[in-house]
């Protein structure tokens, strides 16, 4: 981790100087903090700067775009700039690997920012999200609308001064719980007994629903002389067996061919970030389980890594190995599950999924034994993992990794890869050229299925991935079949890492302090977990963006600390959400039935899409 930080620190000044030469007046300041270096960009110079970075500096990948509301910032005034909103860009280079370039644009309330979509089309959904949650307008965005809430929702909920119906206090723990306690049912707080507030002077009887802009509502104009066919809008979801949860696709079809497709989400928007800013740092750990609920271990790890980077916490050797083992088990089961459900969408209802689940249960048994829960593991802590492995666990995991999983993957391979339906429906469907995938900020297996050898584990190694021998499989086709097959290959590589990690796992501590609470009676409560962790961790003021290669793609956490016990900003760059940028472009020109498979091959999880 420290290597990474120095790498960023060494790189940034050089780039910065050349940046001001290339685009005069673009960089107006910087925050040089221990964790990460941030550059301030003059709002009017943003687009020229981004264009320069993309064309001349090879920063071709816009990983994360988000916003922070500095209204109630408790620490020092960061960078001496007082504008309320801070739009943050994290750029990476897929060719040069290495760390990120952090750009910040500070704007006052009501100001607009130039949309980055003309340079990085992948900013599309992320800018819409910022508009939805913070109310910042992006000039030049093709389709700026509310994506997570609905048209007509009152206010922009992530603003620091926006309070929800069950609001109690700005930060947990709430004072009402102890010692006067009692019990108050949240529902009793409001006369209508529901989690809702209404603006004063709003009259439900005379109220009219605002007219929503439906992105696919425009019928195409036919050229004179063409046959004037009628096109229809077909709606998928939010309750539809093929949408992998509560997701909605609006499609405009002509015949059976899709001519426009727009994803519609927010049906599982659980206010992860708003709740996350109220939680203490540790409290967010079990909430991350519920992001990508198939891979709670990977999410735990990503969040733990980000906070460790921010607070400078060391992790013992054994814990590092355990984390790799858990993450790779998680990757294996995710890919098996994913393959099963791609096949489900292709019409092989249930059968491949059932065989994938059989092995999954074995992995879940192992998870349950160490962490106590099948799905929501909540296993990692800052500075280690919560408890050591149980006796005999490693032996059984070895059996699974050496014998059972390779056999199961071979079985799936034999069963499915030559299947004529899989081939017939997979070849050449959902194709997007590699440069478009990068421009759309798509990550994970989707990139590698199109021949781009980009994996965060190699590009910017975290944990102890540099110790293992593994390949990044790539396929060149970039179609559904390649996306199916790449998952199989990646699962094999994951098993390979597992075998090495389970072979080499050393003994020792799994966290900086004894695991059991009673053992620490004398040491004070703050020392219970991870030494410096504890439940009142207060990382130093600063910000951090850390990303990992989660099974679904690049999972990043952007955290801002003002030195208090609660994160000031807690943002999740979720792969499922941003990969959906590609859904429309991928589906256009194919049949409606293919859209279902294209969505399946993106492998989304709604908990992560909507957060």
């Amino acid at each position: 981790m420290s290597d990474e930080a120095t790498m960023v620190a060494e790189e940034a000044p050089a780039v910065e100087h050349s940046l001001n030469d290339a685009v005069p007046g673009a960089i107006i300041g910087e925050w040089a903090e221990e964790t990460e270096k941030a550059l301030f960009v003059a709002p009017d110079k943003l687009l020229p700067l981004l264009r320069h970075l993309k064309e001349n500096e090879a920063y071709d990948y816009l990983s994360s775009l988000t916003c922070t509301d500095y209204l109630s910032y408790g620490g020092k005034k960061r960078g001496g700039i007082s504008e309320r909103f801070d739009v943050v860009y994290h750029l990476f280079s897929t060719a040069n690997k290495g760390g990120s370039l952090n750009l910040h644009v500070r704007v006052p309330e009501g100001d607009t920012v130039d949309s980055a979509t003309s340079i990085y089309p992948g900013a599309n959904l992320q800018e819409s999200e910022v508009y939805d949650l913070y109310g910042i307008h992006f000039a030049g965005h093709p389709n700026l609308r509310r994506v997570l809430t609905w048209d007509g929702f009152h206010g922009h909920p992530m603003r620091k001064d926006w309070k929800e119906a069950y609001f109690e206090e700005d930060a947990k723990p709430f004072r009402s719980r102890h010692p006067k306690g009692g019990y108050q049912w949240q529902e009793d707080k409001l006369p209508w007994g529901k989690n809702a507030t209404y603006p004063p002077e709003w009259d439900p009887e005379t109220w009219e629903k605002p007219i929503s802009y439906v992105p696919v509502s425009q019928a195409p104009h036919h050229k004179p002389g063409d046959i004037d066919t009628d096109s229809l809008v077909i709606n998928f979801g939010p309750h539809h067996p093929s949408t992998h949860g509560v997701f909605r696709m609006l499609t405009r079809v002509e015949g059976e061919t899709i001519i426009a497709l727009e994803p519609e989400m927010g049906y599982l928007h659980r206010n992860h970030e708003k709740i996350g800013e109220r939680n203490t740092w540790l409290m967010n750990m079990p909430f991350t389980d519920r992001l990508d609920y198939i891979n709670s271990m990977s999410n735990n790890w990503a969040y733990a890594l980000a906070v460790e980077k921010l607070a400078g916490i060391e992790v013992p050797e054994r814990a590092e190995y355990i984390r790799v083992i858990m993450a790779e088990f998680s990757r294996t089961l995710n890919h098996m599950w994913g393959i099963g459900f791609i096949l489900n969408d292709l019409g092989a209802l249930q059968t491949p999924a059932q065989y994938a689940i059989e092995e999954r249960e074995m992995i879940l048994d192992l998870f349950e034994e160490v962490s106590g829960a099948r799905l929501m593991c909540n296993y990692m802590r800052f500075g280690g993992v919560v408890r050591d492995l149980t006796p005999g666990w490693v032996e059984r995991a070895r059996y699974l990794a050496n014998e059972r999983l390779p056999r199961a993957l071979d079985m799936l391979d034999r069963l499915l890869s030559d299947n004529e339906i899989v081939r017939g429906r997979g070849y050449g469907v959902g194709y997007l050229p590699p440069e478009d995938l990068i421009a759309l900020s798509i990550s994970g297996p989707m990139l590698r299925a199109a021949g781009i050898k980009y994996d965060v584990r190699k590009a910017e190694p975290y944990g102890i991935y540099d110790r293992f021998e593994f390949d990044i499989p790539t396929l060149s086709d970039g179609d559904i079949y390649a996306r199916y097959y790449i998952r199989l290959l990646e699962a094999r590589e994951a098993v390979r890492i597992l075998q090495q990690a389970l072979r080499d796992i050393p003994g020792g501590e799994v966290q900086g302090a004894p695991a059991y609470a009673s053992a620490t009676l004398d040491q004070g409560f703050g020392t219970i977990m991870g030494g410096k962790g504890g439940y009142t961790l207060r990382p130093p003021e600063g910000e951090v963006y850390h990303r990992v290669e989660a099974p679904k793609g690049e999972l990043g956490f952007y955290l801002v600390s003002d030195g208090k016990a609660n994160p000031f900003r807690y943002h999740v760059r979720s792969p499922s959400f941003i990969n959906l940028n590609g859904l429309g472009p991928m589906s256009v020109g194919y049949k409606v039935a293919d859209a279902v498979v294209i969505l399946g091959a993106i492998d989304i999880v709604l908990g992560e899409v909507d957060r």
């Binding site: 723990p173 719980r177 009692g182 049912w185 409290m283 829960a373 609470a517 439940y535």
Partner: protein, 275 residues
């Protein structure tokens, strides 16, 4: 070849069926190898890693062996030796709880001075996220995670708001569920107790050597519970749990209503004061 995919798929299915039946044909099928037989056709099954064929756990007759660390919802530990709650109402669990579903009222003595005992303890099960932070951070080993998952109810309010009576279990029950951790904790506890005693002894020795010696004798031989006693305790706990289920709801509802009323009054008072 046309149809080969179909045949392969059927082949895999047939292989699974065959493996399952081969397993069934054995005297002791491998899925029952490590299981615990409870009689009357009921078993607790631990699936081994190398078991081939499909396993179906015939819940409710057969159950999966839950690992020690399995967590569902929290429970409060009643120390049967000292005959008191281990909870001291320090409020750490309520503070670390991520969804803030724990509500504690600290008890006070007749003079109104707060004492280290909870008067009321509520956990809203319809909010609890089973993260086990409360159990991890409790410095007194007073709150632990229960393995009981059979909690489905027909009525949510107030049945899913557990009060102190519903949450409390005897320490033996906890020792049965979490044997390894219990042992570790007891070791630490005894060490600490002995340490404390030793310190107290030394202090006391200066004042009265005789008294200290007597105390040390007492602590040397701790009474051990026989299995019958533990069984009896467990039965009592189960009976109590059952009794609570049947008639507790109405009383609790009334109690909660009362609390609600009180809270409303307090709020009113506060508002008036503000004005």
């Amino acid at each position: 070849m046309f149809g080969s995919g179909l045949l392969k798929g059927l082949g895999v299915t047939i292989k699974h069926i065959a493996e399952t039946y081969i397993d069934d044909g054995k005297d002791s099928p491998s899925r029952y190898e490590n299981s615990i037989d409870l009689g009357n056709g009921r078993k607790i099954i631990r699936q081994s890693m190398d078991q081939e064929g499909l396993l179906t756990i015939q819940y409710p007759e057969e159950r999966r062996l839950l690992p020690e660390r399995f967590r569902y919802i929290p429970m409060l530990i009643w120390d049967t030796e000292k005959n008191e709650d281990r909870c001291t109402a320090c409020g750490i669990c309520a503070k670390v709880c991520p969804p803030q579903c724990i509500w504690i009222v600290r008890d006070s003595d007749d003079a109104g001075k707060p004492i280290t005992r909870p008067a009321e303890f509520y956990i809203d099960i319809s909010v609890c996220m089973s993260c086990s932070f409360c159990a991890e951070f409790c410095p007194f080993d007073a709150i632990k995670m229960n393995h009981d998952f059979e909690l489905a109810v027909y009525d949510r309010y107030p049945n899913l708001i557990y009060d102190k009576a519903e949450l409390t279990v005897p320490v033996e029950y906890y020792a049965t569920l979490w044997p390894v951790q219990y042992e570790q904790e007891e070791t630490v506890r005894h060490q600490k107790e002995e340490e404390d005693k030793r310190k107290a002894e030394e202090k006391a020795r200066k004042a009265a050597e005789k008294k200290a010696a007597a105390e040390a004798d007492k602590s040397a031989d701790k009474p051990k519970r026989s299995s019958e006693e533990i069984q009896a305790l467990k039965e009592r706990a189960a009976a109590a749990a059952k009794a609570k289920q049947s008639d507790g709801a109405d009383a609790k509802k009334a109690r909660l209503e009362e609390l609600k009323r009180k809270a409303a009054e307090r709020a009113k008072q506060r508002r008036e004061n503000d004005e």
